[in-house]
């Protein structure tokens, strides 16, 4: 490697790191203060780029000067900042009191809405922005040309870092941000106007995301995939740096982009997985990121966000569930093939969601990567059937939960050592690493094309028979999992969730219990994955993708994580809403997003949680509870 190449590649890495930091800094500040995992941050980045390709060319019509270019960039960022304020005031402000996960759900609704709004306003074709006047050329460095604009970008990152540190340490707003990042409750107790603080923070966060996007227009065309392509990387940077730490994000961005600039020389395919590998390693070694601190509130007893008072079924509820189950079992007799297909999918997803709620609602272990175990189960089943073994479906369906459980045992060993958002991020990292393995191992897994020909054994080949196969396996698994909530094991998990310290003090081995729960949930998800692969006839990496993990989260949140049976209703509602809007319009993502936000606002405890609340309020005067099916109709 000669010196000139080394220098040029370093400069490339620095320019990319600088761009990434600008975006990630906004995310980390917003998380630090509001504790919201803001999925919409990527959307703000995309909107910044679209604003800039609209505003900047218009300004350059007057005069092709660098000044006007940067005026345009700043104006775009300001517009996006205002959009951030609107999101805070209209949406987030109403849901600070609901479980933190619900806020994540709401921001994901915003992502879906923004995707379709952008498509509607700017159209599907990529829009290439103008280059920065006066910085079109390359500058000769050691005999190689390097873009002038990227030299400029290298300085933007440190400048933003400096400005942020200045704000943090010299202004009252900045001091409050730091205070809130350290201990939000205390800041509230001291009488600080939290509403103003949060609005200001969202403005700053969205502004930085918009700035990051607007600065990219000389390098990247504004396109509709920008939001999702940046958001995971931005998350990884904030986590590696330590959530809430701006200097940490700066260092993390530098490490990632420098590793990438040189890593691709040795492993040309590394970009797919590099950031997640790094995140997993950092979190295993340093559980709070490079510069993050353990949460002050983590030792405090807080109101948990999961299942609170566990009740058995009343006689009426038992009746309702028995009737519902019977109705479900009649679907193949009364409905057409399509209904049967949808019924199979709902049962499969219900099992996966139910197992996820064993972790989240019951154990307080928030997993952003449950699709990993679903996918591992699906691949184990699919590859057994289609691979050299040509195993029958029966064997594959035994292997699926084993594989899912095994993967959960392996990853869970590391995951249960962490807590809170870092734990969630480690689950995400492992899921992405799994995704990358199945994506990249083309010889065995077929890469992104996947493997086709995963069909049930002959006796179960018709949809109707397979429906009952799924019904038996999924429903018994759900009943067994539900039973687990009521066993001492279930109570122990809840004790550890409510206060890990106190549980530890009375002699409970918290980590081992959590690990066991993880393995059980992984095995159930694996079984669901196996069942799903036989219903759609193929396996492919979208089954392990982040989108799939998010879908599972949506399902349990829609139903309500405070209830045992909520995830089942949530799955039915979520799947029906999607199935209802998809054939109706190209803009189905918009309506899905609106539905999600509506559910968050109207049923902040999920559909079933809301039903329970309603019943408590009506007391004994309400003779029958609304059936979940009726609720599903209303919300759809």
């Amino acid at each position: 490697m000669d010196l000139s190449f080394f220098v040029i590649q370093t400069l490339s890495g620095l320019a990319s790191a600088s761009s990434l930091f600008v975006i990630a800094s906004g995310l980390t500040i917003v998380f630090g203060v509001t504790r919201i995992v803001n999925f919409a941050h990527g959307s703000f980045y995309m909107l910044g780029a679209y604003m800039a390709v609209t505003i900047v060319p218009w300004l350059l019509e007057f005069d092709r000067s660098p000044t006007l270019f940067f005026v345009g960039v700043l104006a775009s960022a300001l517009v996006v900042g205002v959009l951030g304020v609107i999101m805070e005031v209209v949406l987030l402000r109403r849901i600070y009191r609901v479980p933190e996960l619900f806020q994540l759900l709401a921001t994901f609704g915003v992502v879906l809405i923004v995707q379709d709004v952008v498509l509607k306003i700017w159209g599907p074709v990529d829009i290439t922005g103008p280059r920065a006047p006066g910085m079109r050329h390359g500058i000769e460095i050691l005999g190689q040309r390097f873009p002038a604009y990227e030299l400029f970008l290298i300085f933007v990152g440190p400048a933003v870092l400096g400005a942020l540190l200045l704000i943090m340490h010299k202004t009252r707003f900045g001091v409050l941000i730091r205070a809130a990042t350290q201990d939000r409750e205390m800041v509230g107790a001291l009488g600080v106007n939290q509403a103003m603080l949060f609005t200001g923070t969202l403005f700053l966060g969205a502004f930085l995301a918009g700035l990051g996007g607007a600065l990219q227009i000389p390098r990247l065309p504004a396109n509709t995939g920008m939001d999702l392509s940046i958001i995971t990387e931005a998350f990884v940077v904030t986590v590696i740096g330590g959530m809430g730490s701006v200097p940490g994000a700066f260092i993390a961005a530098l490490i990632i982009k420098m590793l990438e600039a040189f890593g691709i020389l040795i492993f040309p395919k590394i970009t797919l997985v590099l950031v997640f590998l790094l995140m997993a390693v950092v979190l295993v070694v340093k559980p709070w990121g490079l510069m993050g601190k353990p949460e002050v509130a983590s030792g405090r007893a807080v109101l948990p966000e999961g299942i609170l008072n566990l009740k058995g079924f009343s006689r009426k509820e038992t009746m309702v569930w028995v009737v519902l189950t019977l109705a479900l079992l009649l679907v193949p007799i009364l409905g057409d093939t399509y209904k049967v297909k949808v019924g199979i999918e709902i049962m499969v997803f219900a099992l996966a969601a139910f197992s996820l709620n064993l972790l989240i609602g019951n154990g307080g272990i928030v997993s952003f990567g449950h699709a990993a175990y679903f996918g591992v189960g699906a691949y184990a089943a699919g590859l057994l059937v289609t691979g050299p073994l040509k195993a029958p479906m029966e064997l594959a369906l035994v292997a699926a939960p084993l594989a899912g459980g095994l993967a959960a045992a392996l990853f869970g060993y590391f995951i249960v050592r962490l807590s809170g958002i870092y734990l969630a991020m480690l689950t995400l990292a492992f899921a992405q690493i799994t995704y990358a393995i199945f994506f990249q191992w083309v010889e065995v897994t077929g890469g992104d094309n996947g493997v086709v020909g995963v069909w049930p054994s002959r006796w179960a080949a018709t949809r109707e028979v397979y429906f009952y196969v799924v019904a038996v396996l999924a429903l018994t698994s759900i009943v067994a999992l539900r039973h687990l909530f009521y066993t001492p094991f279930g109570y122990t998990l809840r004790a550890a969730r409510d206060s890990a310290n106190r549980a530890d003090a009375i002699g409970i081995d918290v980590k081992t219990h959590r690990w066991l729960a993880f393995i059980v949930a992984g095995a159930a998800a694996g079984l669901a994955g196996g069942l799903y692969s036989f219903s759609k006839g193929s396996i492919d990496p979208t089954m392990i993708s982040i989108a799939m993990s998010i879908d599972f989260l949506m399902m349990i949140l829609t139903g309500g994580i405070q209830t045992v049976m909520g995830p089942l209703v949530g799955t039915a509602v979520f799947h029906s809403v999607k199935d209802f809007f998809m054939p109706l319009t190209d803009f189905w993502r918009f309506f899905l997003g609106v539905s999600i936000i509506a559910i968050v606002l109207i049923f902040p405890k999920g559909v079933v949680g809301a039903l329970d609340g309603l019943r408590e309020r009506l007391g004994r005067r309400a003779p029958t509870p609304a059936t979940p099916a009726a609720v599903a109709r209303e919300t759809a």
Binding site: D126, Q144, P147, T224, I264, D448, G537, L584
Partner: protein, 408 residues
Amino acid sequence: MTKLDLSRRTVVGGLAATGVAMTAGTGAAQGAPVKVGELNSYSRMAAFAVPYRNGMQLAVEQVNAAGGLAGLGGRPLEIIYRDDGATPGDAVRVAEELVTRENVTFIAGAFLSNVGLALADFANQKKVLYLATEPLTDALTMGSGNPFTFRVRPGTYMQTKMLVDAAKSKGVKRWALVAPNYEYGQSAVAAFKRLMGAAVPGFEVVAEQFPALGRVDAGATVGALAQSRPDGIFNVLFGADLTAFVREGNTRGLFERRTVVSLLTGEPEYLLPLGDETPEGWIVTGYPPEQVDTHGHQAFVTAYKAKFNDTPRLGSVLGYVVPFMIRDMFNKSRSTETAAMMEAFKGLTTQTVCGPVTMRAIDQQSTLGAWVGETTLKGKLPTMKNFRYVDGADVMFPEAEVRAARRI
């Protein structure tokens, strides 16, 4: 179910009206429409799929105005459009809905290769015909091919072969390759190595880069390619990745004095966003709508512009060609039975605005070709020069290979 009524909104405009108002001698289609289910990523891949649907709608109108499907007693053709969600899981469910609820005669469409493969396998399992219009993966007609699946667009291997045929005479030996890290990119690179390696003695790959799709780090990638000092570059990047790559490469002089061969870059979908930075003289596959004047092509361009107020994209041509192939198939099958339709497609030749297109029986791949030429700027408009239409028949897999891959 109200949703069924609503979902018909995409039914070709005026179709029902023409059917009702039909009287002898008007020449319009009559009778109950023959339904075909079309799934595509209209939401996620709108840049390609929406012009594609436009082309289809235009062609269906013309087919029905000219008397519909003569082989089926002049019944009109109706295409029911559905979003496939851009994932195989959603696509298979939607296909099931089209087959059971809408009673379509067969299914068509898909953009992404993994969606196409899942639909092909669904078709094989459910004994439904599937006309794969857009997916490029070679597996669809080779290793994973099945009797129920027919493909229209020239696949990855065919398009790569067109480029190699056009570029091999330059005799460039030292190549750097860059492709998105997924099946399409990997297969294109493999085909290029194989074909160029056979055509040019001393062929050598000095660098390979596989950035993740949609997330190219252009600076680092261009640096890594330039470091290997190649004489030729084979590019498979497209979309936003391509634009970022071209800008970075232009500024750093990566393309100067080098032969660049680039897959799909001449398609308006990907070429137009390059704007005034369009590099001069890249050898590409693509489609220059304004300049093609064979087989009544300009009449299509004019009609398309009049209806949609936009120039056609590659997707538009593809979408426009397909309904005519479907019409000819029905005219030959005279039936909507799957077996009869499959038999009718085999060896079927259709006269299209790209020239005659034949569905080769052995691998059920059509001979639709593509335009190969060089990129250039006409004023401020990126387009192609020195182009010619390469008939797909000239670049298909050899029959022996097909037999080996499909085990027939």
